[in-house]
C-alpha cells in the first residue's frame, strides 16, 4: 500500500467498561480531542481481550491496536488487568518478532477520572503508528479491497 500524505491509520482501542471506557467518555465530555482514526470497542474487562482479537485486527488491516484497562489494583474484577498484562506482554513480543513493530501495540491503564490521560494516550499512540506507516506484515491480502 503506498504511503500517501493523507494516509490515515486504522486503530482499534479495546477499553474495559469500568475505567477506560468511562475515561474515554470523560475525554469526550471534556472535549479533549484525539484523532478520528481511533475506534473504541467496549469489553467488560481488559482480561476479556483474547490475543486472537488483536491478531484478527492486524490481519484485517489494522495499523495499531491499543488495550486500555483500569490501573493495577483497581480492576473492577480485582485481577483481570494482571492477566491482560501478562498475556499482552507475550503477544506483543511475538508480534514484534513477526514484524508487527512494538509501536503498533500498547497497553495503557486509564481510570474513569483520567479523560486527559485518555486523550493524551490516543494522541501519542496515533502519532507513533503514523510514523510507522501502514502495517504490512500480518495483513491478509485477501481481506483488502
Amino acid at each position: 500500500m503506498p504511503v500517501t500524505e493523507n494516509w490515515k491509520p486504522t486503530i482499534v482501542a479495546f477499553c474495559c467498561n469500568w475505567c477506560s471506557y468511562a475515561g474515554a467518555d470523560l475525554a469526550g465530555s471534556s472535549r479533549l480531542a484525539y484523532p478520528a482514526d481511533v475506534k473504541i470497542i467496549k469489553v467488560p474487562c481488559s482480561c476479556r481481550v483474547n490475543p486472537m482479537f488483536i491478531l484478527r485486527a492486524f490481519e484485517k488491516g489494522a495499523d495499531g491496536v491499543i488495550l486500555c484497562g483500569c490501573h493495577p489494583g483497581d480492576c473492577h474484577y480485582s485481577t483481570g488487568n494482571y492477566y491482560a498484562r501478562r498475556r499482552m506482554t507475550l503477544l506483543f513480543s511475538m508480534l514484534d518478532y513477526l514484524g508487527v513493530e512494538d509501536g503498533r501495540t500498547r497497553v495503557e491503564w486509564v481510570s474513569a477520572a483520567e479523560g486527559v490521560k485518555f486523550s493524551e494516550t490516543m494522541n501519542s499512540f496515533v502519532e507513533k503508528v503514523r510514523g510507522l506507516g501502514p502495517n504490512v506484515r500480518l495483513g491478509d491480502l485477501r481481506c483488502r479491497n
Binding site: 486504522t10 482499534v12 469500568w18 475505567c19 471506557y21 468511562a22 474515554a24 467518555d25 475525554a27 469526550g28 465530555s29 472535549r31 479533549l32 480531542a33 484525539y34 478520528a36 475506534k39 473504541i40 470497542i41 467496549k42 469489553v43 467488560p44 474487562c45 482480561c47 476479556r48 481481550v49 483474547n50 490475543p51 486472537m52 482479537f53 484478527r56 485486527a57 484485517k60 488491516g61 489494522a62 483500569c70 490501573h71 489494583g73 483497581d74 480492576c75 473492577h76 474484577y77 480485582s78 485481577t79 483481570g80 492477566y83 498475556r87 481510570s111 474513569a112 477520572a113 483520567e114 486523550s119 481481506c143
Partner: protein, 662 residues
C-alpha cells in the same frame, strides 16, 4: 437474517453539528439486515422512543442499534424501551457517536466517517446478540460502614432508623473522627463535642447499630447485595464487657512516653488509653508497642488496679465474618505531611503549628488545657500569623493541586476565636483568595474582618525564620499594596492541605472502588451519582470522596444512606445476564478456567454429552451464573475455545473488529 433498525440521534446539535446524521442513516440502510433507519432530534425523549416503538411493531425488528450518546448514559433507557415493546432488551446495541465522536472531532467529514464505522460495528455485533434474561439474587439486609467519623456515624444512624442493621468499623479506639478533635465549629461557633457527642451516644445505643472500634476491614468478597467481609478486631487487651470506664488504669500506668495521637503528638499519653474523655466505647486499649507487661512480662499494674478485672493480656486479634448487602466508605482524611515545606520552619520551631494542632491547643481537654500558649516557652502569643493554602492549590508536586475547601473558613474561625478571647493579641492572615461560598459563610468571614479586626493580607509567605530571641520573622508580600512585608510573630499557624486517609488505597482495592489521581474515591458520576462508587453496592460518604465541611459531610452522609436504604429495601436484585458459559462439546475439563475466576463461579460436573452421535460421560465446566460477574478472564484462558461470554462473545467482538477494519 436479523431485521435491524438503526436510530440516529442528533442530540440537539451535540451530535448533528459535527456528524452528518442523514449520511449515517443513508449508510445504515446499505448494511446487511438493516430494514429501517431514521434520525431524530432527541432519541431518548418520549417522542424519540415512540419512533423506536413504532418501527419495532411495523417492521418487526429483532435487533436495534441506537447511534447516540455513551451507553453509560442511555443504554438502560433504550433497553427498557425495547422491552416495553416486546423485544428482548439485550438485542439493543449503542454506537457511541457523541462522547467518542462528535464531541472530540471538529471536521464534519472525518466525524461522519467515524460515526458510520461505529454504526457498522454495532450493527455487526447486534446480528450476533442473543436474547438474554437477567437472573435474580437475594439481598442481605445489613450494611457495613467503614469509618466512624461524623460521615460514617450519620450514614449509620439514617440507615438504622430506616430499620436495617448497620455495622460501623472504626480503626481507632473510638468513633468520632476529626470532628472530635475540633474545638468550635464554623459558621456558628458551637462547640464541636457538644453537637457530636449526642450523635455518638445515639449510634452506640441504637438497637440497629453495632460498632467495632479498634477494628479494620481485612477482606471483602462477593458483590452488590451479597458481600462477605472479614473484620479484624485488634486485640484491645481489655475485656469490653467487664470494663466500667473508670480510668484508673490510665492514671496508674507507668508507661507515659507514647505521643498522644489525638492531640496530634503535642503531649503524651499512657500505654493504656482512651483517646479522649467522651470516647465511645469508653473502654481503653493497650498500645502493645508501649506496654511494659506485653513487652517484658513485668509490670501488670493496670491489672492490679482494675476493680472490674477487665484487663486481659492474653487477648488476641479476632476475625469476624459477616454478610452485607451494601458497603459505605467513610474513611475521611488527614492533613498532609509538611516535610517538603522547609520554608515554613514547621518541625524546626515548636511555635509553627498546623491548624489542627491549634484546634487541640484551644480545646479545654487539649495539651495546654485550652490556654493559648506557645509550645516552646508557655508564653501567651501577642502576634499570631496565619498562612493559608499551605500545600493546597499547589502547582508543583510538593502539595496538592486542589483547594482543601475548609481552610478559609476555619482560619476565619480561629482568628475570630482568638481575637474574642485574647483581645490584645494581633492576628494577621496571609491568603491567596478567601473562598466563602457556603450559607452564612461570607457573613462569617466579614465578621472576622469588620467586628474582630483581623488583619487580612492578600499575598503569600516565602519564609518563616526562627529568631534567636524565640520569635519568628515572617517574610511575606502584600499583593494589593505591592510591597514586601517583614512581620515578627510569636506563633505561626499553617492551614495545611487535607488529603484522604493513607489506607484509602487499600480499602479501594479491596472493594474494587476506584480512586482519582489525588486518592479521593471516585463517584459513579461526578454530577448525577455523587454518593455511589462505580462499583455497585459501594457508596461514598464524607471527605473520603472530596474536601467537605461538616454540613456538607452530613448532607452527603444522608444521601449515601438513602441509596443504601433503597438497595436494602429490595428483596431481589436483577443480576447481569452477561455471564460466561462453556460449550459442553468443546470443553475438555482441563480446569484452567476455575483457576482464573475471581469469584469461584466455575465448578466441574460429569455430564453425558452427545458428541456427533457418540454419547459419553465427560467432565465439563459449569458456570454458576449467580456468582459469575462477567469479566471474561476464563474465556481467554480456555485453551479449547469452549468458554465464551454472553453479550461479549468471541464472535461478537470479532464482528466489531472486522467492521472497524473493513
Amino acid at each position: 437474517m436479523r431485521r435491524i433498525g438503526v436510530f440516529v440521534c442528533h442530540c440537539g446539535s451535540n451530535i448533528a453539528a459535527t456528524v452528518d446524521v442523514k449520511k449515517v442513516v443513508e449508510m445504515a440502510l446499505l448494511e446487511q439486515g438493516v430494514v429501517h433507519a431514521e434520525d431524530y432530534p432527541y432519541m431518548c425523549s418520549e417522542a424519540g422512543q415512540s419512533h423506536i416503538a413504532e418501527a419495532i411493531r411495523e417492521k418487526q425488528l429483532d435487533g436495534i442499534v441506537v447511534c447516540s450518546c455513551s451507553p453509560r448514559m442511555h443504554e438502560a433507557t433504550f433497553r427498557k424501551c425495547a422491552e416495553k415493546n416486546g423485544l428482548n432488551p439485550y438485542l439493543v446495541e449503542i454506537a457511541n457517536i457523541r462522547e467518542h465522536c462528535s464531541w472530540i472531532h471538529k471536521d464534519m467529514q472525518e466525524a461522519t466517517e467515524k460515526a458510520v464505522i461505529l454504526m457498522r460495528a454495532a450493527v455487526a455485533k447486534v446480528h450476533l446478540n442473543a436474547p438474554l434474561k437477567a437472573g435474580e439474587s437475594a439481598v442481605t439486609k445489613r450494611a457495613l460502614v467503614i469509618g466512624g467519623g461524623i460521615a460514617g456515624i450519620q450514614t449509620a444512624l439514617d440507615i438504622a432508623d430506616a430499620g436495617y442493621h448497620v455495622d460501623i468499623v472504626e480503626k481507632e479506639p473510638s468513633i468520632g473522627g476529626r470532628m472530635s478533635q475540633l474545638d468550635k465549629t464554623f459558621p456558628t461557633l458551637d462547640c464541636s463535642a457538644c453537637i457530636l457527642t449526642p450523635k455518638m451516644v445515639e449510634a452506640a445505643s441504637h438497637e440497629n447499630i453495632t460498632i467495632h472500634t479498634w477494628s479494620e476491614v481485612e477482606k471483602v468478597s462477593g458483590f452488590v447485595g451479597n458481600f462477605t467481609v472479614d473484620i479484624r478486631k485488634k486485640a484491645r487487651y481489655v475485656n469490653m464487657d467487664k470494663c466500667t470506664g473508670c480510668g484508673i488504669c490510665q492514671e496508674k500506668c507507668p508507661s507515659k512516653k507514647p505521643l498522644n495521637e489525638f492531640n496530634r503528638g503535642l503531649n503524651n499519653r499512657s500505654a493504656i488509653y482512651t483517646p479522649f474523655a467522651q470516647a465511645i466505647p469508653n473502654v481503653p486499649v493497650i498500645d502493645a508497642a508501649a506496654c511494659i507487661k506485653l513487652k517484658t512480662g513485668k509490670c501488670g499494674i493496670c491489672e492490679k488496679f482494675c476493680q472490674a478485672g477487665a484487663i486481659d493480656y492474653a487477648q488476641t486479634d479476632e476475625i469476624i465474618t459477616q454478610q452485607y448487602g451494601a458497603i459505605v466508605v467513610a474513611t475521611g482524611f488527614d492533613t498532609i505531611k509538611l516535610d517538603k515545606y522547609g520554608e515554613y520552619a514547621y518541625g524546626e520551631s515548636k511555635d509553627v503549628i498546623t491548624s489542627l494542632e491549634l484546634e487541640r491547643i484551644m480545646n479545654a481537654a487539649g495539651p495546654t488545657k485550652g490556654h493559648l500558649e506557645r509550645l516552646s516557652d508557655g508564653k501567651a502569643p501577642k502576634e499570631i500569623v496565619f498562612i493559608q493554602c499551605v500545600g493546597s492549590r499547589c502547582s508543583d508536586d510538593r502539595g496538592k493541586p486542589y483547594c482543601s475547601k475548609i481552610c478559609c473558613m476555619y482560619t476565619a474561625k480561629h482568628a475570630m476565636l482568638i481575637r474574642d478571647k485574647y483581645p490584645d493579641t494581633n492576628v494577621t492572615v496571609f491568603y491567596i483568595d478567601v473562598r466563602t461560598p457556603g450559607k452564612n459563610f461570607d457573613e462569617f468571614y466579614r465578621r472576622a474582618v469588620e467586628d474582630y479586626g483581623v488583619n487580612y493580607v492578600k499575598g503569600q509567605v516565602g519564609k518563616v525564620a526562627p529568631q534567636s530571641d524565640g520569635s519568628l520573622l515572617v517574610h511575606g508580600v502584600d499583593l494589593l499594596e505591592n510591597k514586601q512585608i517583614l512581620k515578627k510573630a510569636d506563633m505561626v499557624v499553617l492551614a495545611t492541605a487535607i488529603e484522604p486517609n493513607s489506607d484509602v488505597r487499600k480499602i479501594a482495592t479491596m472493594l474494587t472502588a476506584s480512586i482519582d489521581t489525588n486518592n479521593f474515591l471516585t463517584e459513579a458520576h461526578p454530577k448525577l451519582r455523587p454518593v455511589e462508587s462505580p462499583t455497585a453496592g459501594v457508596f461514598l460518604s464524607g471527605v473520603c470522596q472530596g474536601p467537605k465541611d461538616i454540613p456538607e459531610t452530613v448532607a452527603q452522609a444522608g444521601a449515601a444512606a438513602v441509596k443504601v436504604i433503597g438497595l436494602l429495601a429490595k428483596d431481589k436484585l436483577k443480576t447481569n445476564p452477561c455471564t460466561a458459559k462453556a460449550d459442553e462439546l468443546r470443553c475438555n475439563g482441563c480446569s484452567q478456567c476455575a483457576g482464573v475466576c475471581p469469584y469461584g463461579a466455575i465448578s466441574y460436573e460429569t455430564r453425558q454429552v452427545n458428541d456427533h452421535g457418540i454419547r459419553e460421560d465427560r467432565r465439563i465446566a459449569v458456570v454458576n451464573s449467580a456468582l459469575c460477574q462477567g469479566c471474561g478472564a476464563c474465556t481467554v484462558t480456555c485453551p479449547s475455545g469452549a468458554m465464551d461470554l454472553q453479550g461479549f462473545s468471541n464472535r461478537q467482538i470479532i464482528a466489531e473488529v472486522d467492521a472497524i477494519c473493513r
